[in-house]
């Protein structure tokens, strides 16, 4: 175990490692500048549980209707060895359908182990890569690996289509509808980021086999139901921007050693006995037990855990609310800061970090620092215009 790994293990404490998924890796891109999350993620800490422990639980969980609908649509698309999907890819990407073969790496009920699936995925990709540009293979239930802060995360793309126009393509199946050519932009963006994680992982695997990144297309195939008739449609989505952001954040996590070197040596997010407990079911928003039921061993005092959180530098922004389980805690900590009102508000207030400072500068009761002179002038003018306009309307 390296020094960094030992440090991270100590920071995590007795709790089991929280493994990354494509979704948690995608979430890394929302607030890349946050040290707090970088440390917690690198240490594999369960942030959901941590947030509940410090009494800022966030609602979680997906509707069972959304889950069953997603599963049903995926099953529909993949039915008959993806016959319908192949037809769609043929129409959309110009791939001659009969030449494509299909391989399921984890047929239902076989219970193949993760390592076995990953090895098999690697084997089939090696074959396909060596086979040259003609012919294609669809890999169902492939298993990829991505290095996240020194630990391997296992990832399960919906499908990998091999050798469409000579390149590997990641295929992502989503059940949100495309209506008259329009889809919910936020959902498309989330799907694109998630697919970009798979592209990176696929590139990593092919690099091990000696192939360059261009072997994997930086466009992914997104399959969604069209209109209200529940028939799938396909679209190509460019994920180059997402790849750039992801790569940057992953390399930041890889250099986590620099960051932890600046933290107190005894820093830990160990929750004591409570932390070692398994997840209390899937009920989101519940407080985890402060005492384990049978042994009545007390957990670590909450103030200590809060203290540990304060020892790491956060960078709260309203976008965290959608992306990070600690959002309510960090929002509370950030009260009175202009960034908590939104990045654009922070910028429009001249980058002055705190609300009190803004109001004092606007009222002319605080002498601005030299680098705040311009902001102060703008704020004073804004305050004058605001007061004058409110008065003139009376």
């Amino acid at each position: 175990m390296s020094d960094v790994e030992a440090r991270l293990a100590r920071i995590r404490g007795t709790a089991p490692v929280r493994e990354h998924t494509a979704r948690t890796i995608a979430a890394l891109t929302t607030n890349p500048g946050c040290d707090r999350r970088a440390v917690l993620d690198a240490a594999g800490i369960d942030k959901q549980k941590l947030a509940g422990y410090v009494e800022f639980p966030v609602p979680s969980g997906q509707s069972p209707f959304a889950i069953s609908r997603g599963n049903a649509f995926e099953a529909q698309v993949k039915a008959d060895g993806c016959a319908g999907l192949l037809r769609l890819l043929g129409e959309r990407l110009g791939l001659p359908v009969p030449e494509v073969s299909y391989a399921d790496l984890a047929p239902a009920g076989t219970g193949a182990s993760l390592d076995a699936r990953h090895a098999r995925t690697r084997e089939l990709l090696a074959e396909a890569a060596a086979a040259g540009p003609d012919g294609g293979v669809l890999l169902d239930h492939p298993l990829l690996r991505l290095d996240v802060g020194g630990r391997a995360a296992y990832l399960e793309p919906d499908l990998i289509a091999v050798r469409l126009r000579g390149r590997f393509h990641v295929v992502e199946i989503k059940s949100f509808a495309v209506i008259d050519g329009q889809a919910d932009g936020r959902k498309v963006a989330a799907a694109a980021t998630q697919a970009a994680v798979y592209v990176l992982a696929l590139r990593g695997l092919l690099a091990e086999l000696g192939y360059g990144p261009e072997t994997v297309a930086d466009e992914v195939v997104l399959i969604c139901p069209e209109n209200f008739a529940n028939q799938p449609t396909a679209a190509l989505v460019d994920v180059r921007r997402q790849l750039t952001v992801l790569t940057r954040q992953l390399s930041r996590l890889a250099r986590i050693g620099d960051l932890i070197a600046t933290l107190p040596a005894d820093l830990t997010f160990d929750l004591g006995a409570a932390g070692a407990q398994p997840e209390p079911g899937c009920g989101g928003g519940e407080h985890p037990p402060r005492f384990s039921d049978d042994s009545a061993v007390p957990g670590r005092p909450v103030v200590e855990v809060v203290g540990a959180l304060h020892a790491t530098r956060a960078r709260y922004a309203p976008e965290c609310l959608d992306a990070c389980e600690l959002a309510y805690f960090c929002r509370d900590e950030a009260r009175g800061q202009t960034a908590a009102l939104g990045r654009s508000v922070h910028d429009e207030l001249g980058g002055v970090p705190d609300v009190a400072g803004v109001l004092d500068l606007a009222a002319g009761t605080r002498v601005p620092d030299p680098d705040q002179a311009e902001a102060a002038e703008l704020l004073r003018l804004a305050a004058r215009l605001r007061a004058e306009s409110l008065a003139s309307a009376l």
Binding site: T338, V345, R384, S389
Partner: protein
Amino acid sequence: MSTLTSLARAEAVRAGRAQPIATVRHVHVHDRPLVLVPLTLAGEANAPLAAMVGDDPDKPRLLVVAQPRNRDQRFAFATALAGVIVSYADGFTARVEAVAGDRARDIRVRFADAPQIVVPNPGGVDFARLFGRSTRFRRSYGDYAVDPAVPMLGRWLTFFAERAEYPGSCLLLAATEALALHWATGQSLVEDQNLAALLGWIDPPVGLTGAQAAVLAEDAGTWPPAGPTTDPTFDSTVLAPLIQAGDVPGLEKALTAQLEPTWGLVWRAVDRLRALPAGPRVAGRWDADKEAYTAHVQHLRDGGPPQPRRDSATAAAQRLNRLERAQASYAAQRAFDDPLVLAEYRLAGEAFVGTVTAAEPERVEGAGRSRKLRPHIVVSTADPVRLAPGTALVAPTRSGQKATLIAITGDGVLLELSGGMGRAATPAPGTVPEVGERICYSSLTDGYQPVADFPRREDTPWTHGGPPAGYDPAPVGDAADAAATDTVAADAAEEWS
């Protein structure tokens, strides 16, 4: 957003409650609006789950789809919703008013009022658009026939949703957006999307700050989401078992509990807005809404086809051009109505308020027949003027007169005036601002701008998709159905599960 509204947010943080960013109301509030709170089933493409709807706060009508994936039940819901919405929307045709037409002495007639639907948030507007889309092409005969009220509902919802994109239109309002036009909270725009939290800042309960009220409002147990998406925990613990069991009374009770808090909030938002004094130009924009309403009713009466699925290239370009012009004129109107909105332009240097310090009212240019009155005035101002010489300016109080910026000097802004001074050799009394007068000038205009020239529909170049196919603009016979055939073929067979 701007520095001014951001400053108001900072003030709201300190004050513990929302701060005004408007001094007058910029939306029309109907005497009898219809409130609609829709809920959809998670994961599905706009599958209705329930709605609370009505024009009386004390008498909400609850509509529930007990099996949201069942096609017949879904259309039974659409029929019932049509019963409320179509009859409300149809109900403003009894009285007409005469207005001046485009040419002198032309008189046109339009309906004297129009309907107004209020939904909780932009998601409610999306619901109207999508539900309109999924119902307006249905047929009341043949395979997959539906009640004739269903396509009619679709055409009305589509009309409302399309108008909602039009800047300044108030036929379909989202409560969160209407409120956010008038108040700045001490939280972020993201959090302002939550109607309960937004009203918590605007009207905090006694003893609570806005921030505290907003945090309480985030508890889905007390304040269920304002829709159309439901709370996932509610879905798994309450809704799924009830749907599974087919327990209709249980569903109605549970969904009432989910909808009622939002129903109350939307009406509170309506009351809060109504209490503000209306801006002078609000009535004019409502007149435009009445025109649109009149045209839509006329189109329906003439047997016109339903709105197309997608605009042709020409129609889309025309629409974009119309929206851009409406946006500019809406922004100008609000600034003219409201000193607090105008202040945004003053801060940006595009408008200024000052005092006339010098005037040369009888200044002329040219001689003989080309002799023209061109008075000069100097306006001294403390505002940061960022307008280039040569820019045409107008004072909201003197809209018939153009002021050209000549120079910005140490004394103030030198302006040359033209127009609006009468026909005599010297300006009519009071037509030139006098020394000592406080006046505002800006580059904003809400006047007429020529419509850009577009090819007619049949001349659409092929690079833009060619002439629209399968769409007969003439309202002949079953044109509506002809237009919709391909859609009906695909959509009528849908299973939605």
